[in-house]
């Protein structure tokens, strides 16, 4: 077709976007080979989750110019993953997802380096997360999203005018799917709403009242939950129910069946039993592909500003036709997570021990078993034992001294909070102000309290 054929290059297509100027781009887009080369050399992205979205994200990012990727996932591969998690084969069942996913993408795409982390997200030091330019979330749980969001927001610092310091913003892209539906969003902490600002987007799961299960069951699900939540404990007392043990699942199924027969209720099947007990969310390859691709594209835009960005929430529904909608959600100005920090005023004489105790009682926090760090230095760690012993002596010292006698500063705490009767681990940023020290009296910037 053409008179001149260009140099063969692997970034043939991507170069069009990165090397050429455009009018519909971000303010800091600098078209040229340096942008592409810097993206390949320096941009580091963490992919959280190596499941349906994570597998797609790794492939998409690796083919979008990113060469330095990490992936973290605590799960092992199961047979039911194979209909969509395309990096896994039958012979991989039982192996860690993160490791297999990283290996498969590296085998296929030369020049890409992916470091797998087969562990819980809570197992990593906070500093681990700070090493990445962008965090891409491919998760299926609210708790995990909340945790990563808390970590990313903990890096955020505000200047004395309460504007976010740009170099402390840790961008996130987040995807989620359920059947033919999904969402993709961009979170720039301090600028766009964080996960916690819009937590209401995830309505709490509806649970059946226990009295319905025990006294007036009407549906198959009621019979299953009776067997799972009530009958199991009655019969097995000490043994905890394990949803991954097929013997346990079969027992629940049989009990549910008996109960359904007793009450004349139709519809109990083994598949439904698993669905109800494990709260299985249907999942297919196409939706994961769509949502991950949108996330990968936004990751590229955050890194290079080569186009406008999604602002800030894309919802997708493919059940009746194809519906997409972009909503610009607003920040919650009082957000405890991405705001300037929860203001805590204490006397300079307060010991670290007393401070940790105060957090448990604080009406905005209710944080127990807190570990405390300041400027990246651990002041006290609850676990592991070795580190607990090493930091224990700090408990009797004053926080004021431990923080280098500053009048006010940010402190990070990591502990357990109770939410909807559930214990969750969370990370909080606190703005600690010492009463009666210099300049404290006219402190008017503690707006986050």
């Amino acid at each position: 077709m053409a008179d001149t054929s260009p140099q063969p290059s692997r970034s043939r297509d991507l170069d069009k976007l990165l090397l050429r100027p455009g009018n519909l781009v971000g303010p800091r887009f600098e078209p040229g080979p340096e942008t592409r080369d810097d993206l390949q050399a320096y941009a580091r992205v963490l992919v959280v989750g190596a499941g349906g979205l994570g597998c797609e994200l790794l492939k998409d990012l690796a083919l979008t110019g990113f060469r330095n990727l990490d992936v973290i996932d605590m799960d092992r591969i199961e047979v039911t993953n194979l209909n969509r998690q395309f990096l896994f084969r039958l012979e991989d069942v039982g192996k860690p997802k993160a490791e297999v996913a990283a290996k498969r993408v590296m085998e296929r795409i030369s020049g890409v380096n992916i470091v797998p982390h087969f562990c819980r997200i809570e197992d990593k030091d906070i500093s681990f997360y700070n090493d990445f330019n962008i965090i891409a979330l491919g998760l299926d749980s609210i708790e995990a999203r909340s945790y990563i969001n808390g970590v990313a927001c903990s890096f955020l610092e505000y200047d004395s005018y309460n504007n976010p310091r740009e170099e402390t913003i840790k961008p996130m892209v987040d995807g989620g799917t359920e059947g033919f539906k999904g969402h993709a969003r961009v979170i720039l902490p301090g600028i766009t709403p964080c996960f916690e600002c819009t937590i209401w987007l995830f309505p709490p799961q509806v649970k059946f009242p226990l009295c319905t299960l025990a006294e007036t069951p009407r549906t198959a699900a009621h019979c299953i939950e009776y067997a799972h939540l009530i009958k199991w404990n009655e019969v097995h007392g000490g043994t905890a129910f394990d949803p991954d043990d097929p013997e346990h699942m079969k027992w629940v199924y049989n009990e549910a069946l008996k109960r359904a027969e007793l009450f004349g209720i139709p519809g109990v099947t083994y598949s439904l039993t698993q669905g109800v007990v494990k709260n299985i969310i249907p999942a297919i390859a196409s939706t994961n592909a769509i949502i991950s691709a949108a996330c990968a594209l936004e990751t590229l835009k955050i890194a290079t500003e080569c186009s406008k960005t999604l602002s800030n929430y894309l919802s997708y529904n493919g059940t009746q036709g194809v519906h997409t909608k972009v909503t610009e959600f607003e920040r919650d100005k009082d957000c405890l997570v991405c705001g300037p920090g929860v203001l805590i005023e204490v006397e300079p004489s307060v010991t670290l021990q007393k401070f940790i105790y105060l957090l448990e009682e604080h009406p905005k926090l209710w944080l127990s078993r807190a570990s405390v760090s300041h400027q990246g230095k651990n002041l006290y760690l609850q676990a592991p034992t070795v580190l607990e012993e090493m930091t224990r002596s700090n408990l009797s010292q004053t926080l004021f001294n431990l923080m280098g006698k500053v009048t006010r500063d940010i402190v990070h705490v990591n502990g357990t909070a109770t939410k909807n009767d559930q214990k969750i681990s969370c990370m909080r940023k606190l703005l600690v102000v010492f009463k009666g020290t210099d300049g404290v009296a006219d402190m008017d910037t503690a707006g986050g309290a």
Binding site: L14, N83, I109, G264, I284, V326
Partner: protein
């Protein structure tokens, strides 16, 4: 081989074993195996599609390694169709995968009958001229066709098929079929046998709301000359009547009754959408009619006769506060009526089949049953020939899109995606494909686009300069992330078309990767 039921568990929960069987029976042909095509097939192969045939005449080049996951360094210089096919096969050995090393454009010209062997053809990255030709071929052969194209940060997906009918459209929010506005005799007599003023407080708060509403509605009708509440004031009064029977704030069944009282007020009979379907000329059936239209013909007769203006009853009821016994009784009453309606429809189906000279048992009972359960939710999708849309688009819609802020970028992309093909036909390359010609390509694309708009009857309409620039900047690049997204949507539509569940998109889906404000355009 893992037990397929376990492997496919997460999707069986969406489209069931019937949907899965339809996928496993189907054969798909892919034209062009760049990332848009290979990502489309990837999602289908994972889901267990029956067979795939990859058609592509090109060889793998260095540049393909940067956007296509289904090739690697060892593929360079080899047939792209072959490499993509073998990588796809790795994903699922239950799928029959083959390839044909030939350019789709040539196949369309030289061997049009080739396409009639497939259930569905997915044509990626085709230019306008080939699209039009292929569309005619597939329409003639009654093969489902779906176009997908990725172009820089833009793209489109478009289905083309004469008629797609859906029984299991599975809408998410659809009113249940309780007939509280038109209860049949057995439901009425069940309600009559239940005393609302029962002494026992436990029994009182376990009367299902369906019974409460049937009784209160009956009471109302008796004192209002047989009519149900219709004015706002009457509706309020009706709710007060229910409230007055409540004994305490903890009676959830009464709260549910008040909340659901609108079901008593809603008009009787069938929806206007369904009315349109039964009035469709295809419902006048003959020996060439599809099973779907035979069923609609039976439905039409049923509504006019034993249905008394209503469809067959769906037969399922939502969960509600109730004692187990009363709930099960209620369920049985609904089930029984639904079954009687199925029998009535079946009788009509059998007789219609006989009348049109078909085997009266040629539609299985399970299909009739499913049709009855879903008769309120039937969907018919008809798609224009691409050529017709290209030559004479729906002008008022087009003009509306061009001036509507929400649609202007999407319609701009639509016009420009057509303009780049005209451009390529004139200048032998896509605008911005080569760096050296960028400067002259921008004004050329601009005038090509205005020429196209004029031809379509939108004289004087212009597109945003920024968008024209952007289109030249894209230079026909096929970016992996865009291809994965466009291919993802194409594969999802294919699944809906083949399983005949859910509702496929109508019109052209325009992907806008600039700010994600994508749109469906009905032209």
């Amino acid at each position: 081989m893992a037990e397929p039921k376990v492997k496919y568990d997460r999707q069986l929960r969406i489209w069931g074993e019937q949907g899965q069987a339809a996928l496993e029976k189907s054969s798909i042909c892919l034209l062009n195996s760049g990332p848009t095509g290979s990502e489309t097939l990837k999602n289908l192969v994972l889901g267990g599609i029956g067979s795939i045939t990859v058609v592509d005449g090109s060889k793998v080049e260095e540049g393909d390694l940067g956007n296509n996951f289904m090739v690697d360094e060892s593929s360079i210089g080899q047939s792209k169709a072959k490499c993509v096919c073998s990588f796809l096969q790795e994903l699922n050995d239950a799928v029959k995968a083959k390839f044909i090393e030939e350019y789709p454009e040539e196949l369309i010209e030289t061997n049009p009958s080739f396409f009639s062997q497939f259930t569905l053809v997915v044509a990626t990255q085709l230019v306008e001229d080939s699209m039009i030709k292929l569309d005619r071929i597939c329409r003639e052969a009654n093969v489902i066709l779906i176009f997908a194209r990725s172009y820089g940060l833009a793209g489109f997906v478009r289905i083309s098929f004469k008629e797609h009918t859906v029984i299991e459209s599975k809408p998410e929010h659809f009113l249940d079929d309780l007939r509280l506005n038109n209860p049949w005799p057995e439901l009425k007599s069940l309600a009559e046998g239940i005393e609302l003023n029962v002494q026992d407080p436990v029994a009182h708060k376990h009367i299902p709301y369906v019974i409460i509403l049937v009784k209160v509605a009956d009471e109302w009708a008796k004192s209002h000359g047989g009519a149900l509440p219709s004015t706002r004031e009457e509706k309020r009064e009706f709710k007060e009547l229910i409230k007055a029977r409540m004994r305490g704030q903890d009676e959830d069944n009464y709260k549910e009754a008040i909340e659901a009282s609108f079901k008593v007020f809603s008009p009787q009979g069938i929806s206007s959408d369904l009315q349109q379907i039964v009035n469709d000329s295809s419902a006048e059936v003959d020996s060439n009619s599809s099973d779907f239209w035979v069923l609609v013909a039976a439905l039409k007769e049923f509504i006019a006769n034993e249905g008394g203006g209503e469809t067959p009853l769906e037969g399922s009821i939502p969960d509600m506060t109730s004692s187990t016994e009363q709930y099960v009784n209620l369920q049985n009453i609904y089930q029984k009526k639904a079954e009687a309606d199925i029998v009535a429809i079946e009788r009509r189906v059998r007789s219609i089949l006989k009348k049109i000279g078909r085997d009266s048992n040629s539609i299985p009972r399970t299909t009739i049953k499913s049709f009855c359960k879903n008769s309120r939710k039937l969907k018919i999708c008809r798609f224009r020939l691409i050529e017709d849309e290209f030559n004479s688009p729906n002008l008022p819609e087009l003009q509306k899109y061009l001036t509507d802020e929400d649609f202007s970028t999407a319609v701009g992309i639509y016009i420009l995606l057509r303009a780049v093909d005209r451009f390529a036909a004139n200048y032998n390359s896509f605008p911005g494909q080569y760096e050296s010609a960028m400067e002259e390509d921008i004004p050329r694309l601009k005038s090509t686009a205005s020429g196209l708009l004029n031809d379509l009857g939108c004289n004087g309409a212009t597109l945003a300069e920024d968008l024209i620039n952007e289109m030249c900047r894209f230079g026909a690049a096929e970016l992996h992330a865009v291809a994965a997204l466009v291919g993802g949507i194409a594969s999802q539509e294919i699944i809906k078309l083949i399983t005949r569940q859910f509702v496929p998109m109508s019109g052209t889906f325009i992907f806008n990767g600039i700010d994600h404000k994508s749109q469906l355009l009905s032209l």
